[in-house]
Each structure stands twice: as structure tokens, then as C-alpha cells.
């Protein structure tokens, strides 16, 4: 049967074009790869090649014709043994049904999880370990190291890599002692090459290992962010669930002290933006331990945001053989009735301090630590806001597109009728981090700002 040669689409957006020039004439024999015509689109003039072999039986669209719609028959190709007589009535209409199958108006996208039934919201907060569990004081630094060591003992495919993690014992001593116990095969000093070793670790995860990648600080992870997002976070989806990157990217995040603009950024909102990643930002040592162990076991790429100032802080940590904390479960640090303070990571320090001072003034603040930013425990926040009717969020990151912004929107959508005042977001200032001590202090969120915000929402 004669084959119709159709006007081709030569770019992702082409709908019609000009048949600029025929390079063949009726009766010519063509084989696959021969140039049939030149076609002009809005982008360029391109050559159009034959796919099948045969003889040009008839040219249907004359050269110079403008506005030829994609899929319009432009010529007829005869196969071996066919003649022009075999060309029957050639319909000028494009073979629309099949060709368009992929282009149907996309039906309304599947519904996003619906926002509904605010009254049914229930707090998910629950104790992380049984009452009466033996506790001991530990720094966040020690808790993180113990979490890694325990998981490395349990699974030989878990390994740590990063700058100065082995012989130097960690730039912030978080990996102290790991080299001695696990050796250089599993505690790997890398060159200063964030983009490269992040990508290498993604490949190692594809290849069956469970890497823990330490960034000396998350500021340096901007060199590697393409590998974190485009390679680690998206592969499970792009492969239709065939393969993914079970791994942890961890290290200090946010401002330390007097290290200036390039070493002081909080990336919580950046990573929380990305589907495919899980994002953890602990405050206490117990949470650091339980959540890091959970992160190492998680089959997805996990961003684990630590804080240099918190490394040396001591907290009570449960003495348990195997202590993990599930993601997506906030912790209520302090119950209260007048206002809900929501924070995470080092922001908790301001929230708790403010709550103490507010208590002296007779204002009862409930303080919630989100602990994980993807997934976020919305229900615990909403249940609290429905009780207190007021909310202030606290974080060190920049204000535009902050976690607080996102929480405000969620509260507005799901608990609007419960609010007695607009939600206020306390954040770092909208400026690069300055070096001078006094300026730096003001660039960060302060306890006084949190107190002022609470007074504003409680109309005191």
C-alpha cells in the first residue's frame, strides 16, 4: 500500500510550517536517510529525511506552501512493485485519531490531597520512648556519632564519606572515632570536591550501598545541589520506581558565629521544597540520634540539617538498644493555651526562651518542634492552633518562601475559622549575613522578636 509522507513536527512546539523546498521530484527513488525536503519553522529551516525506501509517487503539497499543518500528507511514497495507479483517493486530512492520542487535553490533574474536615485534626505527638526509660546526658555531637556507629555496626553497606571525616576526625568532630572502629574503607576522606563526591555517592547508592555524605557545611552543598536534586531526589520517579538513592546528606546548616555571608545560610526551606527528598532538622540530642538512625535506614535520600552551635549542647538521651524516631511526628516541648510557637532546629532555642519569659508575664505558650520538614506533621500544629487560636513561627532562614510562610498558608486553609489573629513568621532578616557582631545578632531572629510577635497576636 502506498505510504503517505506527513508534514513532520520538527520541534517540541511546532504546529505548522512552510514547505520551503522539495529536494526530490515525482518518480525519484529514495532510501532511508535521503533528504526529501526543506521545511521552515519559526525556529529554523530544517532538512526532512526519508524513513522508508521507495519511489516518490506524488507530491501533494507544492514547495513554497506556507502554514502546512503538522501531520498533513505532503507526498506519497510507493514501495517496490507499486505504481502511481495504486494511489487512490488520498485524503488531505491528517490521520488525527492516532497521532493525537498523546496530545489530548490533559484531564484535570489527579486531585491533590484534599484539605477538609478541620474538626477531625488530631495531634500526632506522642512519647518517643516509654516512661521510666533510663536517660543520660549527651551532646548533640556525641548523639550523632553514636547514631552513625550503631547503624554502621548493623549494616556493612552503610559508610561515611566527606571532607576530613576520617583522619582529622571530622571538621566538627562529629565522626570522631569512626575511622578507628570501621577503618578507611567505610570512613572515607574525600578530596575537596563536593559536586563530585555527592554525585559519586548517588552512584554508590544506585549500586547497592547506603552512603552517609557529610558536607563540612551545607553552604558547600550548593556546589553539589544538582546531584542532590536532579540525581538523588528524582530518580525513583523518573525510573518508574525501579531504582533510587537510599542515602543521607548531613552536616551543619545555618549560621554559626561570625563566619559571614557565605558560611551562614539556612537551607531548610530550599530542600523542603523538593519532592523526593526527606528533610530533617533536629534540635535536641535525643532527636538527633533517633532521627539520624531513622534517616540512615530510610530508603530515600534524606537531608539531615545539623547546627554547629548545637553540637556542643547537652540533652537527655534515652539509653536504649535501638532508638529511632519516625519522620513526620512533631514534638510538643511545652504545653500551653494562649499561643502556639512552631519551630525546628536552632529556632527552638528562641521559641523555648521566649516561652519561659512569656510565662513570667502570664502568657502560656505551647511550643512545637517540627523535627522533620518533609514530611511535616501538619496535624500536630493544626490541633494546637485550634486550641490556642494563635500562632507564631520561628526560624533562622530568610523570610521569602520560608517554612513559616508555608505553615501560615496551611493554617489559613485548614484552620482559618479558628484563628483570632494573623499568623506571624519570625525569620532571619532579608539580608546576606553580616560579619560585625552587632549586625549579625540583628540579622538572626531574636527572642525579643518572638516575644513581640506573641504579644501582637495575643493583643497584649
Amino acid at each position: 500500500m502506498p505510504t503517505e509522507i506527513l508534514m513532520p513536527a520538527l520541534s517540541p512546539t511546532m504546529e505548522e510550517g512552510t514547505l520551503a523546498k522539495w529536494m526530490v521530484k515525482e518518480g525519484d527513488t529514495v532510501s532511508s536517510g535521503d533528504i526529501l525536503a526543506e521545511i521552515e519553522t519559526d525556529k529554523a529551516t530544517m532538512e526532512f529525511e526519508a524513513v522508508d525506501e521507495g519511489t516518490i509517487g506524488k507530491i501533494l503539497i507544492a514547495e513554497g506552501t506556507e502554514g502546512v499543518k503538522v501531520n498533513t500528507p505532503i507526498a506519497v511514497l510507493l514501495e517496490e512493485g507499486e505504481s502511481a495507479d495504486d494511489i487512490g483517493e488520498i485524503s488531505a486530512a491528517p490521520e488525527a485519531d492516532k497521532a493525537d492520542a498523546g496530545n489530548e487535553e490533559a484531564p484535570a490533574a489527579a486531585e491533590a490531597p484534599a484539605a477538609s474536615a478541620p474538626a477531625e485534626v488530631k495531634s500526632k505527638a506522642s512519647p518517643d520512648y516509654p516512661e521510666g526509660t533510663e536517660m543520660r546526658e549527651q551532646t548533640v555531637r556525641e548523639a550523632l556519632r553514636d547514631a552513625m556507629a550503631e547503624e554502621m555496626r548493623a549494616d556493612t553497606n552503610v559508610y561515611v564519606m566527606g571532607e576530613e571525616v576520617a583522619e582529622y576526625q571530622g571538621a566538627y568532630k562529629v565522626t570522631q572515632g569512626l575511622l578507628d572502629e570501621f577503618g578507611p574503607k567505610r570512613v572515607v576522606d574525600t578530596p575537596i570536591t563536593e559536586h563530585g563526591f555527592a554525585g559519586l555517592a548517588v552512584g554508590a547508592a544506585f549500586g547497592g550501598l547506603k552512603p552517609i555524605v557529610e558536607f563540612m557545611t551545607f553552604n558547600f552543598a550548593m556546589q553539589a545541589i544538582d546531584q542532590i536534586i536532579n540525581s538523588a531526589a528524582k530518580t525513583l520517579y523518573m525510573s518508574g520506581g525501579q531504582m533510587g538513592a537510599p542515602m543521607v546528606f548531613r552536616g551543619p546548616n545555618g549560621a554559626a558565629a561570625r563566619v559571614g555571608a557565605q558560611h551562614s545560610q539556612d537551607y531548610a526551606a530550599w530542600y523542603a521544597h523538593i519532592p523526593g527528598l526527606k528533610v530533617v532538622m533536629p534540635y535536641s540530642a535525643a532527636d538527633a540520634k533517633g532521627l539520624l538512625k531513622q534517616a540512615i535506614r530510610d530508603p530515600n535520600p534524606v537531608i539531615f540539617l545539623e547546627n554547629e552551635i548545637l553540637y556542643g549542647r547537652s540533652f537527655e538521651v534515652p539509653v536504649l538498644e535501638d532508638f529511632t524516631i519516625p519522620f513526620g511526628k512533631a514534638r510538643i516541648w511545652r504545653e500551653g493555651s494562649d499561643v502556639t510557637l512552631v519551630s525546628f532546629g536552632i529556632g527552638m532555642q528562641y521559641a523555648l526562651e521566649a516561652a519561659d519569659k512569656l510565662a513570667d508575664e502570664g502568657i502560656s505558650a505551647e511550643v512545637i518542634d517540627l523535627r522533620t520538614l518533609r514530611p511535616i506533621d501538619y496535624d500536630t500544629v493544626l490541633a494546637s492552633v485550634m486550641k490556642t487560636n494563635r500562632c507564631v513561627t520561628v526560624e533562622e532562614g530568610f523570610p521569602v518562601g520560608s517554612i513559616g510562610n508555608h505553615l501560615s498558608a496551611t493554617i489559613m486553609e485548614r484552620a482559618f475559622d479558628y484563628l483570632d489573629a494573623p499568623v506571624i513568621n519570625c525569620t532571619g532578616k532579608d539580608v546576606p549575613m553580616p560579619y560585625a557582631a552587632n549586625l549579625e545578632k540583628h540579622a538572626l531572629v531574636t527572642t525579643d522578636e518572638v516575644i513581640a510577635a506573641v504579644k501582637k497576636v495575643t493583643y497584649r
Binding site: L6, P8, A9, L10, P12, S32, G33, T41, K43, A44, T45, M46, V51, N71, K98, A99, D100, A101, G102, N103, A109, A110, N157, Y159, K185, P191, T193, H195, G196, F197, A198, G199, L200, A201, V202, G203, A204, A205, F206, G207, G208, L209, K210, D226, Q227, N230, S231, T235, L236, Y237, M238, S239, G240, Q242, M243, G244, P246, P275, G276, P299
Partner: protein
């Protein structure tokens, strides 16, 4: 006609030659069909055809063993067919259908096969190079004696992460073969306009990585070089670089104005250096195959390709629920199965 170098190689059986002919022709016909489906609007977005470069993957796959891994850029259809992935699944992914390797969620540039140890299909130029190095890191860690092929182009050879990868592969002696598919144009930029030294394979020298220049239009030369590289890696001596000189007949993607090179240049490569014609000639000259035999192969391939196109048209679009699946894994994927 120019003398064909590989005609002199005696140590290849007729069956092997026929297999290479078959595998290269399958890629070419598949790509021509993909181009046609793109023209019909059945394939959308970007679509980078491998026509002209077939000898590179077919030669290197001939040097690989079961369990060896490969990862490449967005010009990936040839690699997938050469490592044994199902043409139906590849074509259906190109049309964005449920029967595609990624259930229609990846597209031309993002396809994977755990079963065939094909780790993508990457759309970010050069990003696959550290990933391939990491696959080799895992293999060395797991002591499984496997080798990884990290393919990238002459364009990607100017990305910094390539040299970060060279460095780490060298210091840790990782079993990775860096395959530079030099088709001489980074999109529309000729190598001499983008790359300070003509000999990319020598760029491993400062890292202590041996490199070799290979005629990528000669499948037997590619296979021989591949075997040498594989032996080097498998013996624990660390990485190896192959710069395989090849040529892309078609545009960078589908909308390519072709203003950056002359038609004569392309015609010259097609007529005098075509890798498939080269093998065809060897088969006929050496009386390893009759015209009839070759016609039979052509017909078999035409059938495979037509079937893949039919499958890709008939496979339904993914269900809307697929929008929300595969974002997070519930359990650790058995990546190294």
C-alpha cells in the same frame, strides 16, 4: 571507496560480525522510527537520536560481561538497545505510555533498567560521570569484580565534575571506564571552538589515568579497545579513558538548524565512514553472508522496530494515579540485584 581498516582483522567470527551488524542496524532503524514518530507528534519534548554513533555502544557492549554497569547522557536510546533492553519498552517510554520502562514518567532522556544494569539516561550534561564513578565505588566496596562504563560526550568533557570524578577514580583505583563519545559537536559548537586541546583522551594523564583514542566508526576497533580497558579495570588497576571518535548524522535534538557544519561534511561521513556499511561490506566481501542473509536480517529488524512502534502507540497513557506514585520508596530498593 576508502580502505576499511578493520577488513584486515582476522580474529572475528562471521557470527560475531553478523551480531554487530544486527545490533547496529537495530539502533539505526529504531532511531529512524523514533524520528518518524516525533514528526507525527507521538513523541514530545526533546529527542536525541544516536544515528551514526552505533559502533560505539555495540563495540563496547561486546567487551562487557554480565553484571557490568553502564550510565550515559540523554542521547541514550542506542545504549539501551545495545545492553539488551526491550525495544517495545524503550519506544513506549518515548511516547510517554504505561508500557514504557519508566511507566511514561521519564521520557527519552530518563530511562533505567535495573535488570540490565542500565543506570540512565541523564538529562544534566556531565552529571552521569560521578554517578558512573560511584557505581564503580560500590562495586569495589562490594568486591564483586564488576566494571562500570560512564559514557559522556566531548561537550560534557568540559564539565568540572568530570575531572572531580577522574581524580577520585584515580586515587581510589575504581573500576570505571570513562567513555568519551566524541561526535565532534557539543550541540552546535565544534570541538575546536569549545575544547582547548584536541586530544581529550590525554586529559586523564595528569591524574595517572591511561587514555586511548579509538576509531568510533569501526565497531571492531571499539570492541578491541573496550576489551583492553575492561581487562585493565577488572585487574584492579583503576580507571581507563577511551575517547571514541564518532559522528552524529542527525541534529543535536529534533529542531536543529544544521548551520554549524556543512552538508558535505555529513555526506562524507555517511558515505565513506558509515559503521554499518563498513560491516556489511566485510560480511559480503568475506563471503560470510549473502545479500539474501542480510536482507533477512534487515527484515527481522524492520519487524522488531515496527512492533515497537505499534506497541508504543497502543500502550495506554499512564493512569492519573501514577502522578502520585514513585515519589518515595517504602523499602530499600535492591539496586544491586
Amino acid at each position: 571507496m576508502a580502505t576499511r581498516k578493520s577488513a584486515a582483522k582476522p580474529n572475528v567470527s562471521a557470527d560475531e560480525l553478523k551480531k554487530y551488524y544486527h545490533d547496529m542496524l537495530l539502533i539505526r532503524r529504531f532511531e529512524e522510527k523514533a524520528g518518524q514518530l516525533y514528526g507525527m507528534g507521538l513523541i514530545g519534548g526533546f529527542c536525541h537520536l544516536y544515528i551514526g554513533q552505533e559502533a560505539v555502544v555495540v563495540g563496547l557492549e561486546a567487551a562487557a560481561e554480565e553484571g557490568d554497569k553502564r550510565v550515559t547522557s540523554y542521547r541514550d536510546h542506542g545504549h539501551m538497545l545495545a545492553c539488551g533492553m526491550d525495544p517495545n519498552g524503550v519506544m513506549a517510554e518515548l511516547t510517554g505510555r504505561e508500557g514504557g520502562y519508566s511507566k511514561g514518567k521519564g521520557g527519552s532522556m530518563h530511562m533505567f533498567s535495573k535488570e540490565k544494569h542500565f543506570y540512565g539516561g541523564h538529562g544534566i550534561v556531565g552529571a552521569q560521570v560521578p554517578i558512573g564513578t560511584g557505581l564503580a565505588f560500590a562495586d569495589k566496596y562490594l568486591e564483586n569484580d564488576r566494571v562500570s562504563f560512564a559514557y559522556f560526550g566531548d561537550g560534557a568533557a568540559n564539565q568540572g565534575q568530570v575531572y572531580e570524578s577522574f581524580n577520585m577514580a584515580a586515587i581510589w583505583k575504581l573500576p570505571v571506564i570513562f567513555v568519551i563519545e566524541n561526535n565532534q559537536y557539543a550541540m552546535g559548537t565544534a570541538q575546536k571552538r569549545s575544547t582547548s586541546s584536541a586530544e581529550i583522551y590525554k586529559r586523564g594523564e595528569p591524574f595517572g589515568i591511561p587514555g586511548q583514542l579509538v576509531d568510533g566508526m569501526d565497531v571492531l576497533a571499539v570492541k578491541e579497545a573496550g576489551e583492553k580497558a575492561v581487562a585493565h579495570c577488572r585487574s584492579g588497576e583503576g580507571p581507563y579513558i577511551l575517547e571514541v571518535k564518532t559522528y552524529r548524522y542527525r541534529g543535536h535534538s529534533m529542531s536543529d538548524p544544521a548551520k554549524y557544519r556543512t552538508r558535505e561534511e555529513v555526506q562524507n561521513m555517511r558515505e565513506k565512514h558509515d559503521p554499518i556499511e563498513n560491516i556489511r561490506q566485510m560480511l559480503v566481501d568475506g563471503k560470510h553472508a549473502s545479500e539474501e542473509d542480510l536482507k533477512e536480517i534487515d527484515k527481522t529488524i524492520k519487524d522488531i522496530v515496527n512492533k515497537s512502534a505499534d506497541f508504543a502507540k497502543e500502550s495506554p497513557e499512564p493512569a492519573l494515579e501514577e502522578l502520585w506514585t514513585d515519589i518515595y520508596a517504602e523499602e530499600i530498593p535492591q539496586n544491586n540485584a
